[in-house]
């Protein structure tokens, strides 16, 4: 990556990325088109898992923009997820606003919150683990706020009322409706398209240059703060959309579901497992992590003969999950996709 020469000679390097982008868009289209048929293969009972996996994937794509491409490791993406989720639930229950509109409002709000947080963190030169800790602290702050704000129902959380009939405007369908899968799939596709566009755009190239060496980038005249903040805003907006969809699918959001610490890790882990800073990493990571606990639970319910002794145990998925993380960190430090790509290039 010699992105640092981009401002000096914009003509020459532009050709290659544009070409690469085209290939990636095509591939994205194929992936999304293929995933479109998943609800026809899956039994009804597995659909919630598939939807949960898609929500993970969208969050991870959002997180990956800021932390993978932007190099600002966030340990508090729950903030943006939660802002999206609460915006949707609140506007819907208090004013009857359509969730589609709330998604956009939530995205803008989350971007605003993200910009504020990132601005102050960067302004005071927090980097690396200090930046991560600061974002974590903000997530805790939002958690406490949501627990104590009356208009958000404090610890009770907000219920999205069930409608008697399906409604596109209110984003509510029958429980087994395939739209519950297709809608986040399209959102995921759009988020991925944004990532591809960004990775190849001037701003994205600058952001990656800043990630690799902020001082060098600045000495070449790149406005470090500006491009970092652009990355953050996009990342937060995408994560907020995942949050809004969460509220619509689960019809309930409370402090724990919106701002709990596990929400932040849910955004990080797929990206880490798939490959931080790669375009396809979060998607692959989510496909591995999302169904994992369900697969293990299924295995434990009806174990093959040699695992008979495990029948009826619970909690094993957590152990497998932990083991998998350790194995990946040791043997595939760049994630599944990142490592494979590196090997193929050699």
């Amino acid at each position: 990556m010699t992105a640092t020469d981009a401002p000096a000679a914009p003509q020459a390097p532009k050709l290659r990325p544009a070409n690469g982008a085209k290939r990636q868009y095509t591939f994205l289209l194929i992936v999304i088109a293929a995933l479109f048929f998943v609800p026809y293969i899956l039994p009804d009972s597995a659909q919630p898992v598939a939807v949960r996996t898609l929500i993970f994937a969208i969050m991870a794509v959002g997180w990956n923009l800021m932390s993978g491409f932007g190099g600002m490791f966030s340990f508090g993406h729950a903030v943006f997820f939660g802002v999206g989720a609460y915006t949707d639930a609140y506007l819907l229950t208090a004013f009857g606003v359509s969730p589609w509109l709330s998604m956009i409002i939530g995205a803008v709000l989350a971007a605003g919150v993200g910009l504020t947080i990132a601005y102050f963190c960067l302004r005071y030169k927090l980097a690396g683990s200090y930046f991560a800790l600061a974002t974590f602290a903000f997530a805790q702050m939002f958690y406490l706020l949501s627990q104590n704000l009356g208009f958000l129902n404090k610890t009770d959380g907000i219920n999205v009322p069930l409608l008697p009939e399906e409604s596109w405007a209110m984003l509510q369908f029958d429980q087994d409706s395939k739209f519950y899968f297709w809608i986040p799939l399209v959102i995921l596709g759009l988020a991925m398209a944004v990532t591809i566009y960004f990775a190849h755009s001037r701003a994205g190239q600058f952001a990656q240059a800043i990630r690799d060496d902020a001082t060098a980038a600045e000495s070449l005249g790149i406005k470090v703060m500006k491009y970092r903040l652009i990355t953050v805003a996009m990342s937060c907006a995408i994560t907020a959309v995942a949050g809004a969809y969460y509220s619509q699918y689960y019809l309930f959001v409370g402090p724990e579901q919106a701002f709990g610490i596990h929400v932040s890790t849910d955004a990080i882990i797929p990206a880490v497992i798939g490959g931080i800073g790669t375009i396809w990493g979060p998607l692959i990571g989510a496909a591995v992590v999302g169904p994992l606990s369900e697969l293990i639970a299924h295995l434990l319910r009806n174990p093959p003969e040699f695992l008979e002794f495990l029948q009826g145990t619970s909690g094993l998925d957590v152990a497998v999950y932990a083991a998998l993380l350790i194995v990946i960190v040791i043997f595939l430090p760049k994630g599944i996709y990142g490592t494979i790509r590196e090997r193929m290039r050699k």
Partner: protein
């Protein structure tokens, strides 16, 4: 080019990952009516796995007992089958487990211990038109959604606060030791807030002054001395307490370690004071602590028999939560018996119109559900730690020991 091939491989892998669950095809229980499936959702892993496991065992034992007694007679002796789901203590997992159980053939659900998980499972039940009997989950709000398929056996938070205040007044009258003032220590959040609000309203109506309301955060709570000394400062007749096990244990210990003239520590919907392990854990500080809570009926022979067999089978005492799971399965079985059908909608109607005599809990009467699905006869009774055991002391009809009031705690 290589990258393309790789990407294709990755796509294939991710598809496999997603569709691997498809082998999970539902073996729906539509093979005549030989077995009827009930789904149970509890936290079987995670920090609440202990109580979740007990509750699951309680439900399982109810199924075994009913099957052993001949199954559902009106369905030709159909056997019950319990499918269990693990909520992991998380709302979204609880929701997907509920959906899995229903598509696996469950005609009714029991669960879930936590209010937020219950909230989500209730919405699944409503959308799938499958009856859901809540064993434990206290939040008033769950039944305020207007759902038609959700029923709750235990009293809700606000009725426990109200009943707690009434019991306090009645006890004062009976013993000739009137109670004029109370300080209230409770956990932050929906549970503590709603119990307190209801207590306050009723207590003030009855002429009890609340000298002080003190709240604490459930997380990071490692010492109750500050809260208790604040409560004692107003010299109240009673210290009322609402919270979960670990924090209420700390409150009891702190009161025990401070000299004071209060007449009693009085738990309302406290997760600790009537737990079997509380007297041993609290030691002297637990002596004569009072607790107003829903409770299994210690005067019922049927409950005693179930508890004895449970302890023999699982090696652990059957706590009230577990008894409620047992009771919830009985409610469903009775609904099946009445409706004579395993159709979830007919079952729902039967449960709504049910009147189940001889409840396993110390309630005011048979289990029957109001319009909103709340058991109308659910109530609290007062217990007290006497000679290292939790005894039922009030009202008289449920008493297993004599009430000691004022209690000698803290001296």
């Amino acid at each position: 080019m290589k990258r393309k091939a790789l990407s294709a491989a990755v796509l294939a892998a991710s598809l496999v990952g997603l569709s691997a669950c498809s082998s999970d095809s539902a073996e729906s229980g539509s093979d005549s009516v030989e077995t009827v499936t009930i789904g149970s959702v509890h936290p079987l892993s995670g920090s609440l796995a202990g109580v979740g496991g007990l509750m699951n065992d309680g439900a399982k034992m109810a199924v075994e007992d009913i099957n052993a007694a001949g199954g559902i007679e009106s369905l030709g002796g159909a056997q019950l089958e319990l499918l269990d789901g693990d909520s992991q203590g998380e709302a979204q997992v609880g929701q997907s487990e509920a959906q899995r159980l229903i598509s696996g053939g469950a005609v009714a659900l029991v669960g879930t211990y936590q209010s937020d998980v219950t909230q989500n499972v209730a919405s699944v039940a409503e959308r799938s038109k499958v009856p859901f009997v809540i064993d434990v989950a206290v939040d008033d709000k769950i039944l305020e959604q207007g759902y038609k398929n959700t029923f709750r056996i235990q009293p809700d938070a606000s009725s426990m606060g109200q009943a707690g205040a009434q019991a306090l007044v009645a006890m004062g009258e009976e013993t000739g030791e009137p109670i004029d003032s109370a300080a209230y220590i409770h956990i932050e959040g929906a549970f503590g807030d709603s119990v307190f609000a209801a207590f306050k309203e009723e207590a003030e109506k009855q002429g009890i002054t609340i000298t002080k309301e003190i709240t604490y955060s459930g997380s990071n709570f490692s010492d109750a001395t500050t809260q208790v000394s604040e409560a004692l400062a107003g010299n109240p007749d009673i210290i009322a307490v609402t919270g979960y096990y670990p924090d209420n244990l700390l409150v009891a210990k702190a009161v025990g370690s401070m000299a004071n003239d209060t007449k009693a520590v009085f738990g309302i919907a406290s997760g600790a004071f009537d737990d079997t392990s509380f007297p041993a854990a609290a030691g002297d500080a637990g002596t004569e602590v009072l607790s107003a809570n829903y409770h299994y009926s210690a005067t019922s022979d049927r409950a005693a028999d179930i508890r004895a067999r449970f302890e023999e089978k699982y090696g652990k005492p059957m706590e009230t939560a577990s008894m409620l799971s047992y009771q919830a399965v009985e409610v469903i079985a009775e609904g099946l018996e009445e409706s004579g059908s395993d159709d979830p909608e007919e079952l729902r109607d039967a449960i709504a119109g049910l009147s189940l005599e001889d409840p396993l809990l110390a309630f005011d009467g048979p289990i029957q559900f109001g319009e909103d699905g709340q058991n109308e006869n659910a109530t609290v009774i007062v217990m007290q730690v006497l000679d290292g055991k939790v005894e039922q002391v009030f009202p008289q009809q449920f008493a297993t020991a004599e009430l000691v009031f004022p209690a000698g705690s803290g001296n």
